[in-house]
């Protein structure tokens, strides 16, 4: 299988469209014949990332590289940044507004879920500059 490179843009202020990138990637990986376990790990971690971009960062950019033995995903935004990354990684900690909770998210599970489902997880954030999250799932 040749390496595949994909780019997605998560639009600003359109929560209803968050999830389109992960749905597209999921369909592609299915066609490539990856195991359902690997596809689920990729889809959930990317989906949570998309939701985060929509909730906290007014959208962002996603790049995905599919190699024969792993899927590597990077999500980048120019959002407000995370002042305390360790705190943000804690299950249940959330800064999401009530409006987001009424949509079924914002329970402080996003980043912990991403870390849980990805085999490798890295996060870098600078307040006022933005956040980059990179994840790898071995397939």
């Amino acid at each position: 299988m040749a390496d595949i490179h994909l780019e997605y843009v998560v639009p600003e202020d359109d929560f209803t469209r968050a999830g389109e990138a992960s749905a597209d990637l999921k369909a592609r990986l299915k066609k490539l014949g990856l195991s359902s376990e690997a596809i689920r790990k990729v889809s959930i971690s990317l989906y949570e990332g998309e939701i985060n971009l929509a909730i906290h960062a007014k959208g962002g950019r996603i790049s995905v590289d599919v190699a024969p033995d792993n899927v590597h995903m990077c999500l980048r935004d120019d959002g407000p940044g995370i002042p305390d990354v360790a705190l943000a990684m804690r299950e249940g900690y959330s800064t999401a507004p009530d409006e987001v909770r009424s949509l079924g998210f914002g329970a402080g599970m996003g980043l912990p879920n991403m870390k849980k489902y990805a085999d490798e997880f890295e996060i870098e954030s600078t307040v006022g500059v933005g956040t980059t999250v990179c994840m790898r799932v071995f397939v």
Binding site: T16, A18, G19, S22, Y47, L103, G104, A107, N113, K116
Partner: protein
Amino acid sequence: MKIKEIAEVLNAEVLTATDLEREVHTACGSDMMSDVLAYVKDQAVLVTGLNNPQVVRTASMMDMVCIVFVRGKKPDDSIIQLAQQLDIAILATDIPMFPACGILYAKGLRGGN
């Protein structure tokens, strides 16, 4: 049980033209999609009172095949179309979450792993 039996016991309206003969054995009830993503493993049916497109997206990520909207929630056309596209059956019942889950449990659906 079959999806069409779920529709019958919950007196639910079927809003998609998907395969209602599909057998399902497990379900989960939640309005919090983050929890569905965190804890669901192999459940086939999502019972929810939350009404937005992310319900369908979440169900799809978890390979679920049926969503039951409870307490009279009626998803709009865009939600129904998305579900149709992803081959997920949409049912809508007036019964609230707790009794709806109880009825399905009594009929043999379980929580799964």
